[in-house]
């Protein structure tokens, strides 16, 4: 049985269809990256899974429990890392973990707190107020707080959004440890590198539904081919090259100061200029082609 099964889920906010006929299945034991641009419906999906949003229609089953009727049981067995830091900053590291151990009905609170402190690598800061921690420590604590009850399913909502690269790497290391330990993970992100590095499978989400799914390699092979040619040139020449490539039936996207011709291995002679930089196709190519949005 899958850890998460969503079928034809719809959630509207007034005129906005935030989630629009979403089908999503997350098998137990994998890390699925929910990749999408801002406004794709990722956070609403996360809220639906914790019953902090109630679907207008469709069926939701998490860890075998129907939502929203049995969301409480589902929440007892899942951990959540929110997009925004909502730790109690005046309270000690240890007490933050202790409080959530109680909320999750953990029986041996001392052992759970110790284990979470190990995960966050904050044993020596356990008596300090959260306010005194560095940004990276706080983020690690936030992750460890979601693991205090050893959940079967772990939801991470944009776990590294707004973090500097060093802290992002620290959080990634933590998530990788969990993933290798077999915890089922659903992680929403709009960082391509995050999805590539951490996810066994990626579901690309846009306009409230999943529009493509597979391993990063599968998605690249299916949607972007083998090679991408980047052409760095003044705007006028870029426009010429783009027109020629599109006429030849190739997908072209903007890539900062360049244009990227995707599936360049299929190009006939002369379509890809000699001065183009050839590189392997990437998940970013797939994403931009599918969603029409540039990634961060």
């Amino acid at each position: 049985m899958a850890a998460i099964e969503l079928k034809q889920v719809v959630k509207t906010f007034g005129e906005i269809r935030a989630v629009d006929g979403l089908d999503l299945e997350v098998p137990a034991g994998i890390c699925l990256g929910l990749l999408g641009p801002n406004g794709a419906g990722k956070s609403t999906t996360m809220k639906l899974l914790t019953a902090q949003a109630i679907a207008d229609s469709g069926s939701l089953r998490v860890l075998g429990y129907e939502l929203p009727e049995r969301s409480k049981e589902a929440r007892a067995e899942m951990g959540v890392v929110p997009q925004l830091d909502n730790l109690d900053i005046d309270v000690t590291v240890e007490d933050n973990l202790r409080i959530f151990s109680r909320l999750y009905r953990v029986k041996d609170i001392d052992a759970a707190v110790d284990r979470a402190l190990d995960i966050a690598r904050l044993q020596d800061r356990r008596k300090d107020a959260v306010d005194e921690l560095s940004g990276g420590m706080r983020r690690r604590l936030l992750v460890a707080r979601g693991l205090v009850h050893s959940p079967r399913l772990f939801l991470l909502d944009e776990p590294t959004v707004g973090l500097d690269p060093q802290i992002r790497t620290e959080v990634w290391d933590l998530i990788e440890e969990l993933r290798s330990g077999g915890t089922t993970i659903l992680m929403s992100t709009h960082y391509i590198e995050e999805a590539e590095r951490l996810a066994d499978e990626v579901a690309v989400m846009a306009k409230g539904k999943v529009i493509a799914r597979g391993t990063p390699a599968e998605l690249i092979a299916e949607y972007a081919g083998r090679d991408t040619a980047e052409v760095y040139a003044p705007p006028a020449r870029r426009a010429e090259v783009r027109a020629a490539a599109e006429e030849a039936g190739l997908e072209v996207r903007a890539a900062g100061p360049a244009i990227a011709i995707v599936g360049a291995e299929r190009a006939s002679n002369g379509v890809v200029p000699d001065d183009a930089v050839l590189r392997p196709a990437s998940l970013e190519d797939v994403f931009v082609l599918l969603t029409g949005e540039e990634l961060e």
Partner: protein
Amino acid sequence: MSGASTPVPGGARRGRMRRLEPAAIAGVMSREVANFRTFWKSTAFSSTVEPIVYLLAFGLGLGATVVADVDGLEYVQFVGTGMVATAVIFSSVFPAMFGTFVKHRFQNTYDAILAAPVDTEELVTAEMLWIGCRAAVFGCFPLIVTFFFGLQPAWGMLLVPFFCLITSLGFAGFGIAVAGTVAKIDQFNYVTTLVVTPLFLVAGTFFPISGLPEWAQVAAQFNPLHQLVELVRAACFGFEWNDLLRVGFLLVFSFVTWRIAIVQLRKRLID
């Protein structure tokens, strides 16, 4: 047989959890206690010193210059016993209004709590109970201070924390309901001016209700704070049968605000 005892990897493993679980309520309250430990000194300071200031200003000031006694009761003692209600409303309605709003809108605390197996009903109940317990303690401070102004101890006073508790639960529920209703924190000003201040002034704390026009006396009977003032004075100077009705009124007040607070906060917290 072996298949029945081996849990399916992604399948359900536990029976239905109940509503209003004590463990969930205790968990939320433990968060409040942990936070309160970081700021209890300032709160205890204001809760202790404020009634002394009021007693000195009204009790001694007005008592020495304008009013000597009310219905045979020395004015300082009249105000001192009435101040219990003031302490209760200030230490319940404001923490409920501002605390709930801040935790919801600015700190995102409730998002974290509701991601755990805790429902809005349990969250509101825990918040009300914690505020109620705190206000029940703070409500006793003016009474203790009034001992130093000649108030004689009485057995009935042992019930004062209970009266404070049932009243502050109601005001905590009211405050949470308001926080769950307003769009912006500035809108608390309307509630304070139009609801809290009139309730505070027409409770019989500083002057007897019997001196007001008849319509105001009738309206005052629906003021929970007035009922608390009457109950505290009864606890100090002797109960009457209708004090049971006052207790009943306060229990209904608390129950109604509890249910409204749950509905209003749920609208805010669950999309």
